[in-house]
C-alpha cells in the first residue's frame, strides 16, 4: 500500500494514496452556516463545494490560523470529496503489510486511525477518511452543504449559467 505522509502541528500522519485526489496550496476557507463545529468551512473546487474538516480539532492538536504556506489535501470519501488543511505534505511512501501495525492498541482517537506505518525515519499514523465524521456530523454536514451549494455554485458559475 502506498501512503501519502503529511505533517500537522509537528506530527506525522498518513492517508492511503488511493484516497488522495490532489494537493493544492492553501486557499481562503468560507465558513459554512449550519455545519457541525468539526467543519472548518468550504472551498469551491472548480465549481464543486467541498468541506474542509478540522483535522487539528479531531486529533486534539492546538488550533492555528490559516496560513498561505499550508496545503489542502483533497481526499476521496465515497462519492464526495473532503479536505484536510495540513502544514505540509512530506511524500509518498510505500508500506508493506508488516510495516503497518493494527490500530487496536492505540488508545487515543482509535476510531480515526486505520493503522500505524513504520517509515525509515519513524512512525506515521494512517488515517481513515471514512471514519473522520460520525453519523450525526455526517448528516448535519450534508444538510448544510445542500442548503449552501446552490448559492455558492450560482456565484461560481454566474456568467456561464445566467
Amino acid at each position: 500500500m502506498n501512503v501519502l505522509v503529511f505533517e500537522v502541528a509537528g506530527r506525522r500522519f498518513a492517508v492511503p494514496a488511493s484516497d488522495v485526489q490532489e494537493l493544492v496550496r492553501a486557499v481562503a476557507i468560507v465558513p459554512l452556516p449550519g455545519a457541525p463545529p468539526i467543519v472548518e468551512g468550504v472551498i469551491d473546487l472548480r465549481g464543486t463545494i467541498v468541506a474542509v474538516l478540522d483535522f487539528r480539532a479531531r486529533f486534539g492538536l492546538p488550533p492555528d490560523a490559516l496560513d498561505p504556506a499550508q496545503q489542502l489535501l483533497i481526499l476521496v470519501d465515497g462519492a464526495r470529496r473532503v479536505v484536510f488543511r495540513i502544514d505540509r505534505a512530506l511524500g509518498l511512501e510505500s508500506a508493506n503489510d508488516e510495516s503497518i501495525a493494527a490500530a487496536a492498541p492505540i488508545a487515543v482517537g482509535s476510531r480515526l486511525v486505520a493503522g500505524v506505518v513504520a517509515l525509515a525515519d519513524g512512525l506515521a499514523v494512517i488515517h481513515d477518511v471514512r471514519s473522520f465524521l460520525d453519523q450525526s456530523e455526517q448528516s448535519s454536514l450534508e444538510g448544510a452543504l445542500r442548503a449552501a451549494a446552490p448559492l455558492a455554485l450560482a456565484q461560481a458559475h454566474d456568467a456561464a449559467h445566467r
Binding site: V27, A28, V30, R46, P68, D158, A159, A160
Partner: protein, 177 residues
C-alpha cells in the same frame, strides 16, 4: 508576509481554484472576464486584461471622443478610461454608479473600461459567438467580436487597444503628464 497580504493571497488562490475547468469541446474556447455595464453583460478575453481596480478619480478631457469618460491615474500610469454606455447611446450617464475599471494592456496598462460590476472568469466557445446585427454604431462594429447565446457582448481587446480614436487619446495623455 503580512496578515493582510496573506488574506489577499488566500482569496486570490480560492478564486483561481474555483474556476471551472476548460470544457472539452471541438471548438476553440477563450478564457474571458465578464462584467456588467448598463445592465448588459460584456466579456473580454483575459489575455488583454491586466487587472481590475477601483476607480478613485477621473479627469475629464475636453475635446475627447464621447465614449472616453476621461483619464485616470492607476498605479502611476495615466490611462484613458472608456465608458461603454456612451458607445451604446449618446445620453450622458451618471458616473457615481461605475466604480470599477477593467484595465487592459499587453505589456503595460494601456486602457481602462468602466464597469458596474465584475462577474467571473469563464470559458467561452468562439463558435457560440455570433456577429452583431448590422445596425450598430461604428465603434461597436470595430471593437465587438459578437454576441453570445446568452446575450453577452464580447469585446475585441486587440481592436480596442489598436483603435485609432484612442491613439488620439494617447497624445492627450502625454500632454497632461
Amino acid at each position: 508576509m503580512s496578515a493582510l497580504g496573506a488574506t489577499a493571497t488566500l482569496e486570490e488562490r480560492a478564486r483561481l481554484l474555483a474556476r471551472a475547468p476548460k470544457p472539452a469541446s471541438a471548438g476553440i474556447s477563450v478564457e474571458v472576464l465578464s462584467f456588467v455595464v448598463a445592465r448588459e453583460r460584456w466579456a473580454i478575453a483575459t489575455r488583454w486584461v491586466r487587472t481590475v481596480m477601483r476607480l478613485t478619480s477621473l479627469t475629464r478631457v475636453p475635446g475627447a471622443p464621447a465614449f472616453v469618460a476621461g483619464i485616470a491615474s492607476l498605479r502611476g500610469e495615466v490611462l484613458p478610461i472608456i465608458d461603454l454606455r456612451r458607445v451604446l447611446s449618446d445620453t450622458e450617464p451618471a458616473l457615481a454608479e461605475l466604480s470599477r475599471v477593467v484595465v487592459l494592456g499587453v505589456e503595460r496598462a494601456e486602457l481602462g473600461i468602466l464597469a458596474d460590476e465584475v462577474l467571473a472568469i469563464t470559458w467561452l466557445e468562439l463558435d457560440h459567438v455570433r456577429p452583431l446585427p448590422v445596425a450598430t454604431r461604428p465603434l461597436m462594429q470595430r471593437c465587438v467580436r459578437g454576441v453570445t447565446e446568452s446575450a453577452m457582448v464580447v469585446l475585441d481587446g486587440g481592436a480596442l487597444l489598436e483603435d485609432s480614436t484612442l491613439f488620439v487619446q494617447a497624445e492627450v495623455r502625454k500632454e497632461t503628464r
